[in-house]
């Protein structure tokens, strides 16, 4: 069977792959086939005992897939949003050194994770995906406030997080000396600004956990790595922000979506070795 060549063809859109499957005379039946003598397809292609593409499409209805990478703070945002809404989804771990044909087909412009795939249609860019989730599943746990001015403030601060935190954090673990000191300084300044914006509110959105909280809290899982690589304490500099993060972690949607900070630190150490950073 031509399965080997099919699965390895890069950049093949899911729909054309479905059409190819539909035209095959034989499709492996996961019920009858025993795992040992069947070449199992990659996890991202679900096969069903059917040769009709329309039935395949129907079985994909209301299907939510998330292409992700466990340490990615951007991926964590989407995980949190999906969990807040109670949406069941298929989590697909990507190997970024060997990106799947599905990822390349669903995000041809950036070839990056996370990608949310809803009923076969991709939504790329984490904050766009979070807004999409909020708008489609609008009857539960709203993430954006309803007042237009407050929505504008939420979008502004989420955008600020995007502009600052990831890049500065990256500089902290990947540079040394003066460059690292400058990055640490600016990073702390940015967090202090966010701390100021939080004020005495439990969450950035006020009483309710919301959009800016989702945008920022994933980076908390990277704080231990930043602190260890940079030789500083974020809690000492921004105690209120760390308290806020711990408050967010009391929510299951957050605690289940963030990896163990020690694991993240281990991952960063591997990256440092790979990029030859002392």
């Amino acid at each position: 069977m031509a399965s080997a060549s099919l699965w390895n063809v890069p950049e093949l859109a899911l729909t054309s792959l479905n059409r190819l499957i539909g035209n095959l005379l034989y499709i492996p039946n996961p019920i009858l086939a025993s795992p040992s003598n069947q070449k199992r397809p990659p996890q991202h292609i679900k096969l069903h005992y059917s040769s009709s593409t329309s039935l395949l499409k129907k079985q994909m209805a209301e299907e939510v897939i998330l292409l992700d990478f466990w340490p990615s703070p951007f991926g964590m945002r989407v995980r949190i949003a999906l969990a807040e809404k109670g949406i069941a989804y298929d989590y697909k771990e990507e190997d970024l050194k060997n990106k799947s044909p599905l990822l390349l087909a669903m995000n041809p412009v950036h070839k990056k994770i996370p990608v949310l795939i809803h009923n076969g249609k991709p939504v790329c860019e984490s904050l766009i995906a979070v807004q999409y989730i909020d708008e489609v599943w609008h009857d539960k746990s709203p993430l954006l406030p309803s007042d237009p001015y407050e929505r504008a403030q939420a979008r502004f601060w989420a955008d600020y997080v995007d502009k600052k935190i990831y890049d500065l954090g990256r500089k902290i673990w990947s540079t040394k000396g003066e460059e690292q000191e400058a990055a640490k300084k600016e990073f702390v300044e940015s967090l202090k600004l966010l701390e100021g914006e939080l004020g005495d509110k439990p969450f950035f959105g006020g009483q309710a956990f919301g959009f800016v909280d989702v945008a920022l809290v994933p980076f908390y899982s990277w704080f231990y790595a930043y602190e260890t690589c940079g030789g500083f304490s974020i809690e000492a500099e921004c105690p209120k922000l760390v308290a806020w993060a711990k408050r967010c972690l009391l929510r299951e949607s957050v605690s289940k979506s963030l990896p163990d900070p020690e694991k993240v630190h281990g991952f960063v150490l591997e990256l440092k070795k790979k990029y030859g950073v002392e």
Binding site: I128, Q131, Y132, V136, P148, Y149, R151, R155, D159, Y160
Partner: protein, 232 residues
């Protein structure tokens, strides 16, 4: 008078980012006071209203500031929902698509555009131009899929993505002129080339799109400043 209070916009005539909320306000038929910033010196009001980035545009609605051009455009759409056409599409997936391409334009395409003028040497310049052309080809493809035969990305009327991209047309023309290029080439990007003409002719855009001549003069000014040796 705008509902809920006075509307002011802090900006500058050459800025494509400032043009975005101006087009949105025009689409909604809203009156506003345009507070022109002097190039090279930021006003007290600007620094007070946008302490985080200290940049234009800033919308002031009943003295409450909204910053970041695309955040402002969405705010205008949501604060005046029954005035004029909807700027963002109504379907969540279409909204996500519009936001995706607007983010692409801001994060990838526009920086590659300004990269052309900044490029040092022939090779770097060619590489920068190739990047812009590649981006335009992606946007041409997107236009075909999103407009579905209608005149604009937004359909029958100008929408979010039209505003996000169209605001750069003045600068595209300046780049074409100063570099001797044809970026909106009828042969390569026919959909976008025709869309550009329709966009610039639209009543919401005409009054706020600067003349290419004026913009080219302004470009010379800032390039001179950019290339000038740092003060002692």
């Amino acid at each position: 008078m705008a509902k809920g209070g006075e509307v002011k916009l802090i900006g500058g005539w050459p800025s494509p980012f400032v043009m975005r909320p101006r087009i949105a306000l025009n689409l909604k038929g809203l009156e506003y006071e345009f507070l022109e910033e002097k190039f090279g010196a930021k006003s007290e009001l600007l620094l007070r209203s946008n302490p985080v980035h200290k940049k234009i545009p800033v919308l002031l609605h009943a003295d409450r500031p909204v910053c970041e051009s695309l955040v402002i455009v969405q705010y205008i759409d949501e604060a005046w929902p029954s005035s004029g056409p909807s700027i963002l599409p109504s379907d969540p997936y279409d909204r996500a698509t519009a936001r995706f391409w607007a983010a692409y334009i801001d994060e990838k395409w526009f920086p590659s555009m300004s990269g052309i003028a900044r490029a040092q040497g022939e090779e770097a310049k060619k590489a920068a131009i190739d990047q812009v052309v590649e981006g335009l080809s992606l946007l041409e493809d997107a236009f075909g899929k999103i407009s579905k035969g209608k005149p604009f990305f937004g359909g029958d009327t100008i929408g979010f993505l039209d505003i996000a991209l169209g605001c750069f047309l003045g600068w595209v023309r300046v780049t074409e002129r100063t570099q001797g290029l044809k970026l909106l080439d009828q042969a390569k990007v026919p959909g976008l080339a025709k869309w550009a003409e329709r966009f610039c002719a639209d009543s919401a855009v005409k009054g706020v799109m600067p003349e290419t001549e004026k913009l080219a003069e302004f470009a010379k000014l800032i390039m001179a400043k950019f290339r000038a040796p740092p003060p002692q």
